[in-house]
Symmetry: C2
Subunit: 367 residues, 2 copies
């Protein structure tokens, strides 16, 4: 039975589905990226993202932006998503051109649209908090701000960008508030990250952006005129005979830049909605282990394991083999049919180094 | 080209091939025991044992005692071994009946024989020392003693039995000496093992026994008359129509006992030849790792590994998968097509606990 939802008027959700999730190798691969994997439950991360935004807007107002290699898998994983709502980037070009193109296409379909962008490979455990923050952000966006949802940081993470907020209230609803954002900052070093946490003024930038489509178009006109011209040409050709040619010719001429660097850091009217929603980027095996159910010894186990004196470890098996561990602490073991990873849990970020090393390998399926 | 060897007159080598090597699971299985595996080089441990004794006696004077499940594999691994020299125990019954039967069959073939028994699954790195110790032991055996070769211990090992030697010289050759053995002792506790080492009078019992076939027969008459009667009946039937029936009926009535407990601990004239020959029982993954070639970080690696900051570890792969390790120290990883083991290197002895646990499993091939 389908649940009844209270949709937000004119809300269009955009789900950028890029990146392979290198740090979750060997489960994630270039051909089977993180967002397609059912890491947390029976549905993949992109399915869970789709489910989440589906509580706020109908499927025909949800758009996925992805690469050519993943369009078919996405189409099958999201049968409710209209085929025309899958936008394929010919080549990866940063979130700047990708979100600008989505914005142009949505603006063409609905000039009053509010576009809200959420990455395909993040986890959010508190759906209610996500909905409240999004509704607040939409309220702020209606007034013309480019809005981001900033997550209250729980540790001095050096792997994320931060947003410094002010106390200048831009918009307030019964469910939250949006403040003027002072600045966006890139990934800090550890000392700086600690200062950010103790200041209480910094929020994690999780790439959640909400704006009126015409607001972004205005900012693009000032800040990224080449991108705006390109995506306008592409949007004009959409549904016409020349679509493929225009896309192919135009896309490669656009600057490769993120929306953060290309727009948000320099835009005039940027607001941030602080929120806690049990957010995680499911960035590495250590983090995934924290999201999975754990046994009394702190182990997160997926697969057929015989364990003796095993603690605080993550064991992920593709399920076809018997795994035994003895006297193992704080280790991640990931077992797939063609590759096995054993890594100190504190070294989860370094899994990408293995993938880098494998780039010289004969078999590209390993990557 | 076949090497020329200086064979020892009337020497018959017996190779008991029993035990699955549980602690080398998942590489070793009941159906593919340790002695059949090429753990140290391209030839299996039983092939290396055969090669070693082949330097002292011709193939038709080498006898293997094994169980029904392994006879075919042994026949194929040792093509030079005459088929009739594979003695199949109907059921495992300890080394007492097994060696007594070999002794009876050899005595029938050559009443002047010296029988020398060496386990199928041990490693010896110093062939010359092995040959010298064996020749010395044979010299002592010719005078009527039951002789054992005792290894100079290198650590207070609690996993082996020990032999206490005396200074009473029984036989001396240019290559070594045999002394009266004071006693055989079972596996000691750690404190006792340390006393043994510091006393300098204790040697490891590696199950290397050398005797004149008539000497053992005399001792069996005193100490194990049931076994002697049984194996004599079986030997009498050997090569006759009733062989299978006699073996089947008699074997199960014999006491299940080791030659150590059944004979050596109580025999009148027991001598021991101390030796160092780079001996190992290849007992567990830690020990095997010490025998394998190691890289500069102390890792023993067999297989296709990408390693980052990996030290003092053993990685054994069946070779069909890519393995990656990061930040791993003192761990053993054993990767086979249907089972994976990850174990703290200090817990190598506990691998048998996993096999015990798996005994309730549906698939007996895992055991």
């Amino acid at each position: 039975m389908r649940e009844e939802h209270t949709y937000i008027d004119h809300l269009w959700a955009v789900i950028p589905a890029g990146g392979s999730g290198t740090r979750l190798w060997p489960l994630s691969r270039a051909a089977r990226p993180k967002f397609l994997l059912p890491l947390l439950g029976s549905r993949s991360l992109i399915q869970q993202t789709f489910d989440r935004v589906s509580t706020l807007t109908p499927p025909d107002q949800i758009v996925v932006v992805c690469g050519p290699a993943h369009a078919a898998a996405i189409a099958r994983q999201l049968p409710e998503l209209p085929e025309g709502n899958i936008i394929i980037e010919p080549t990866p070009n940063g979130t700047g051109p990708a979100l600008a193109l989505a914005n142009a296409l949505i603006q063409k379909a609905d000039p009053l649209a509010i576009m809200a962008s959420f990455h395909a490979d993040h986890d959010i455990s508190d759906l209610g908090a996500f909905q409240r923050a999004t509704r607040t952000a939409v309220a702020a966006a209606r007034l013309g701000d480019l809005v981001t949802i900033g997550l209250t940081p729980t540790r001095p993470e050096t792997g994320y960008g931060y947003i410094e907020r002010t106390d200048d209230l831009r918009t307030e609803t019964s469910e939250g508030a949006a403040y003027r954002a002072a600045r966006f900052v890139e990934k800090p070093d550890e000392a700086t990250a600690k200062e950010y946490i103790s200041s209480g003024r910094f929020l994690w930038n999780a790439g959640m952006f909400i704006w009126r489509v015409d607001s972004l178009t205005s900012e693009l006109r000032q800040l990224q005129p080449l991108i705006l011209a390109g995506v306008t040409d592409i949007a004009d050709s959409w549904g016409k005979r020349e679509r493929e040619r225009v896309l192919a010719q135009t896309w490669s001429t656009l600057p490769n830049i993120t929306i953060d660097v290309g727009v948000m850091e320099h835009a005039q009217r940027v607001a941030v909605v602080p929120s806690e929603m049990g957010w995680s980027d499911v960035g590495d095996w250590h983090g995934l282990g924290e999201l999975l159910a754990q046994d009394a010894q702190g182990n997160a186990i997926n697969g057929d394991l015989v364990q003796i004196d095993t603690t605080n470890s993550v064991v992920w098996s593709s399920g076809h083999r018997k795994i035994a561990t003895i006297g193992i602490d704080n280790v991640v073991i990931v077992d797939t049919p063609d590759a096995l990873l054993v890594v100190d849990r504190n070294r989860g970020q370094d899994v990408k180094l293995v993938v880098d090393r494998l780039k010289g390998e004969a078999d590209p399926r390993l990557l």
